[in-house]
């Protein structure tokens, strides 16, 4: 007797999970239904029902098949569980059919609801409009959040994928985290640890590549394509791409193969099959060689941080050559994103704990040569977009904090719309009081009335929902522009998402309707039918409280967007310590191009619009990757500190417009200016406790392979931001390069016609490097790229703040209208007795403005605290000025006043003859 315990039918874990799942489901009814039945069976019948249904299930499987059986089982469970099972109250049942099931009553409800909607068109439209706006916001932001959240979750092995990150440290310096490591890490890790099933590296060679198709009998076709990445042939063993043509696991084994996205394939070859056809690819990756198409994959709606448009093998182009012949070591060329796929159920912590030992075994020797230490860590691939602290991994990342922020804005907007509904419904309850009284006298239960009013609000919400759906689809392109996403209508009407939206609408309806429904249904019929109706004090207080809440949210949002915007302005406009504008950075992407540096520089200096030009390894706004540990001559090596270093040409400091504080800049006039003289920033002096006055001529020593190399300080420049303003300024030193081998040339121009000068630069480049594409960036734009997530969030917050204020004002307008209507007579009498229009407007506005003032009082400290917390992520930030509170408060007051005045002015101007004549 008794039940078999759950444990005894435990399923052994066979190797292949899918087949075991199928077998399980054939034998077992749906789990959720079983669970429901076990939890919610009518009291005393648990055992027999479970047993009976199990027997029935076996029978149904035989009779109608698996799907039918599961379906019938679920239906039966839903009908049998509490509270749907037949109540056991006996034969009186026949008379107490719930009104919700009686068609006549339902029809009456619908009719009364419809008449009410029509009777007060303005209030209904305020409600519908508010709810529509709220729902639209919520829908769009839900799509946005869902899309941001779904990054890289679609890969078949998503849970086993990790990115190898590194933290390079020198001395006691905390170091920086990098998403990329050097080439040998991936293969060596895979060989060392059996937990790692597979690894793949990704390298981004060119920002833009030239793709050409020349086929017989057709004109040559050329396209520029972005987002072509070089990957190991194992890449598709890690990441899931839906191949339309070709075999993902063999696609990239040949160095001269290419895998195209559907879109690129269509662009190059039209609708015909692309497989086996040839594409000539330019740039560092392709070197203008022919590549055979070995695969085409579907560009899916799912998000991945790897937004590739085509893939090339890593063993091709410049980087292929480097990997084969360049003897890559563990310390230099940290430019390969290395992904690992682990065995299922690997303890990641345990693997991570082994990584220091790996460094010791493989990388120590190489690291010693360059003088820094490196730690490795693993980041789950699905976390890269929202949780990792890299500003970008292939694509710019976002922060989960911003998603929470946006999510709460969406919720608040909807909540404000709900409050509008509640307030208008309860304020106007007098209109429905008689109806409630009559219904109660006729024998309606409170429950029936509650359902009636809830039903009304749900119907109204659904009306709003339908409009919102249309509006959302209409606004999608605008929204995409705002967020920089590419959401499609297809995502909008996905069944799953529609279901979520529908649930959202239903919840909104319930929430908005709940309070009015209970409030209205509690009326005492004897009182209301006598005509003695007063809004209860507590209801009025609650209504006021809700208005205050609405404005707290609105004012808070306004404050937040003010502060965010001010900080963004600050980020954009803060003097960085050098000249940002009119600076063009041109990269040298190949060794050959580097050798043409001097020639190129001489050529472009001929143009009188080019003020100066100089080569450098790094420039502010991009990662400054090199650093060295220096120590004062009177101190030991262990007391040294890390200094970021940058090897530059003589004129670099002048070109960038750094401001000199002490000494001098590098100059060709001083033959003694060699690689062993440095110009440092103020932070360096502070760090090494060197007084500013005797900084010049002071030496800093650098130990390298047991040898001490002294560097002489010849100049000190004012502190400048070489990184974005999230980061503090740390010691920095410029040194001259022994031979001109620079990654970039910075060209400072003085022109109003940027196009012209860019054309000139490109032409000069083409004469020297005819087969290499000319690229450039603007220095100020490079700096702004670091604020991508902030800029986007700021735009979204701003827009939706506006909408939430609009909805709040709508509600206020409704309430003002209502109170003006109520006091028509009073105002008529006042006017007859000689009150001025101004005094009446003030009378009508006073109550509401008081509420708004209270809201400002509550919102200000809350917003201050929240924004203060947010600002902590920036090392350089604004102090929240007092006037933003005044401005936000004034804005709210003015908006509220205008809203109320629209109505109160109208009432105040009405001729008292009209308002008083009816009595």
């Amino acid at each position: 007797m008794g039940r078999i315990t759950k444990g005894s039918k435990g399923i052994p874990e066979p190797a292949d999970r899918r087949t075991s799942l199928d077998r399980h489901s054939a034998r077992q009814p749906p789990r959720w239904a079983e669970w429901l039945l076990s939890q919610f069976s009518p009291v005393g019948l648990e055992d027999e029902l479970q047993g009976d249904l199990q027997e029935m299930y076996t029978y149904w499987v035989k009779m109608v098949g698996l799907r039918g059986a599961r379906w019938r089982y679920s239906l039966a469970v839903l009908r049998l569980i509490r509270p749907f099972s037949r109540s056991r109250t006996g034969p009186t049942q026949a008379y107490s059919q719930p009104p919700i099931l009686s068609p006549t009553m339902l029809l009456n409800y619908v009719k009364v609801a419809w008449r009410n909607l029509l009777r007060s068109k303005s209030f209904s439209s305020i409600n519908v409009l508010g709810l529509t706006l709220g729902l639209t916001c919520c829908m769009l932001l839900t799509l946005y959040i869902r899309s941001e959240w779904s990054f890289d979750t679609h890969h078949q092995h998503a849970r086993e994928l990790y990115l190898l990150g590194s933290r390079s440290t020198v001395g006691q310096n905390a170091g920086r985290e990098h998403a990329a490591v050097s080439a040998p890490y991936g293969p060596a890790l895979k060989a060392e640890y059996p937990e790692i099933i597979q690894m793949a590296r990704l390298y981004m060679a060119d920002e833009k590549s030239l793709l050409q198709v020349r086929e017989q009998g057709k004109p040559l076709q050329s396209f520029y394509e972005t987002k072509g990445y070089q990957v190991d042939s194992t890449f598709f063993d890690l990441f899931t791409y839906a191949f339309i043509e070709g075999n993902p696991h063999k696609a990239l084994t040949d160095p001269h193969s290419v895998v195209l996205s559907e879109e690129v394939a269509a662009k190059l070859f039209g609708s015909a099959s692309a497989l086996g056809r040839l594409v000539r690819i330019g740039g560092d990756a392709g070197l203008s060689e022919d590549f055979k198409v070995t695969g085409v994959y579907r560009t899916s709606a799912t998000n991945s941080h790897i937004d590739a448009r085509f893939f090339l093998p890593i063993y091709t182009g410049d980087i292929g050559h480097f990997l084969r012949e360049g003897h890559p070591d563990f310390a230099n060329n940290n430019m390969f994103l290395t992904y690992l796929r682990l065995q299922p159920n690997t303890a990641v912590q345990a693997l991570a704990a082994k990584l220091p030992a790996f460094i010791e075994k493989y990388a120590r020797a190489d690291l010693k040569l360059v003088g820094f230490d490196q730690q490795l860590f693993l980041v789950p691939v699905p976390d890269l977009h929202l949780y990792a602290h890299f500003p970008s991994v292939v694509t710019p990342t976002n922060s989960v904090i911003y998603l929470y922020m946006i999510g709460s804005i969406a919720l608040f907007t909807l909540l404000i719309a709900c409050i509008n509904f509640m307030n208008l419904a309860t304020a106007r309850s007098a209109k429905r009081a008689a109806e409630v009284g009559v219904r109660k006298v006729m024998g309606a239960h409170q429950g029936a009335l509650v359902w009636q009013f809830l039903g009304e609000s749900i119907v109204l919400t659904f009306l709003a929902f339908l409009i919102a759906l249309a509006l959302g689809i209409l606004l999608l392109p605008l929204f995409n522009q705002l967020t920089g996403k590419a959401l499609s209508i297809r995502e909008f009407v996905e069944p799953q998402i529609l279901l979520i939206f529908l649930g959202m609408a239903l919840l909104t309806g319930l929430l908005a309707g709940s309070y009015p429904a209970f409030y209205l249904s509690l009326f005492n019929p004897a009182k209301v039918l006598k005509g003695k109706f007063t809004n209860s004090l507590s209801a009025v207080a609650l209504r006021k409280g809700l208005v205050v809440f609405q404005f707290v949210v609105s004012v808070g949002l306004v404050l937040a967007s003010f502060v965010i915007q001010k900080q963004m302005h600050y980020l954009r406009d803060k003097p960085l310590g050098f000249t940002q504008n009119q600076q063009i950075a041109i990269p040298f992407r190949s060794g050959d191009s580097r050798t043409t540096y001097t020639a190129f520089r001489n050529e472009i200096l001929q143009n009188n619009q080019v003020v100066s030009a100089a080569g450098t390894q790094f420039y502010p706004g991009i990662a400054n990757l090199s650093d060295m540990v220096f120590h004062r001559p009177d101190q030991s090596v262990e007391q040294g500190h890390d200094i970021r270093t940058n090897r530059v040409d003589f004129e670099y400091l002048q070109t960038m417009g750094f401001r000199l504080k002490q000494g001098r800049m590098f100059s060709r006039q001083f033959p003694g200016d060699t690689a062993n003289r440095i110009v440092v920033n103020e932070a360096t002096l502070r760090q090494f406790q060197i007084p500013e006055t005797n900084a010049i001529g002071q030496h800093l020593n650098f130990d390298w392979q047991g040898e001490t190399i002294p560097f002489e300080i010849v100049g000190v420049v004012h502190d400048f931001h070489y990184e974005d303003l999230h980061q503090p300024i740390t010691p920095y030193a410029f040194m001259l390069s022994r031979r001109p081998s620079f990654n970039y040339i910075i060209v400072h121009v003085n022109t109003a016609d940027m196009t012209n000068i860019l054309g000139f630069l490109e032409q000069k480049w083409k004469t020297l490097r005819p087969d290499e594409p000319f690229e450039y960036t603007f220095l100020n734009e490079d700096f702004q790229k670091n604020y991508h997530a902030e800029n986007r969030t700021s735009r979204i917050v701003r827009t939706f703040t506006l909408i939430s204020i609009l909805i709040s004002c709508l509600g206020l307008f409704g309430l003002a209208t209502f109170s003006a209507q109520q006091r028509t007579k009073e105002i008529g009498v006042r006017k007859v007795l000689g009150a001025s229009v101004a005094s009446i407007v003030l009378l009508l506005s006073k109550d509401f403005l008081k509420l708004v003032l209270i809201a400002i009082g509550i919102a200000s400290p809350l917003a201050w605290y929240a924004m203060h917390q947010w600002l902590q992520i920036f090392e350089y930030r604004i102090a929240i000025p007092w006037w933003v509170f005044v401005a936000a408060g004034a804005l709210a007051l003015v908006l509220a006043f205008i809203t109320i005045s629209l109505q109160s002015l109208k009432t105040a101007l009405t001729n008292p003859v009209k308002s008083l004549r009816s009595e």
């Binding site: 008794g2 039940r3 055992d47 047993g51 009976d52 076996t58 039966a76 049998l80 037949r86």
Partner: protein
């Protein structure tokens, strides 16, 4: 008070209980009806009908007979009470009376 009335569905279920004798429990009754009648009555309906019959006093029930095919859980076995028997017999009598009132030629015309 009016004597509890036996509905058509209740009659079918009650008859099946009588037919199955000591094997009558909800699942077996549903399956029998499903197989022998051209119409399918859902399990929850049979379950509710049985409860109603029990409330009206036409059947009585007791727990028993756990088998492995039902996961070792007990079943509720139903038996027809005296009142139930009477109700069934009465039902049948009413029907036969009505049948007998149909003139024989008409019945012959129907081919019965």
């Amino acid at each position: 008070m009016k004597r509890p009335f036996l509905g058509e569905l209740e009659e079918v279920v009650l008859l099946t209980v009588a037919a199955l004798q000591e094997l009558a429990y909800c699942a077996s009754i549903t399956q029998t009806i499903d197989q022998q009648m051209a119409r399918s009555i859902s399990f929850p309906t049979v379950h509710t009908t049985l409860q109603r019959l029990e409330e009206k006093g036409f059947v009585s029930s007791q727990m028993g007979g756990a088998t492995s095919e039902r996961g070792g859980r007990q079943k509720r076995l139903f038996t027809v009470t005296v009142a139930g028997q009477r109700a069934l017999i009465e039902c049948r009598q009413v029907r036969s009376q009505l049948w007998e009132q149909i003139p024989t030629p008409v019945l012959q015309l129907w081919g019965v």
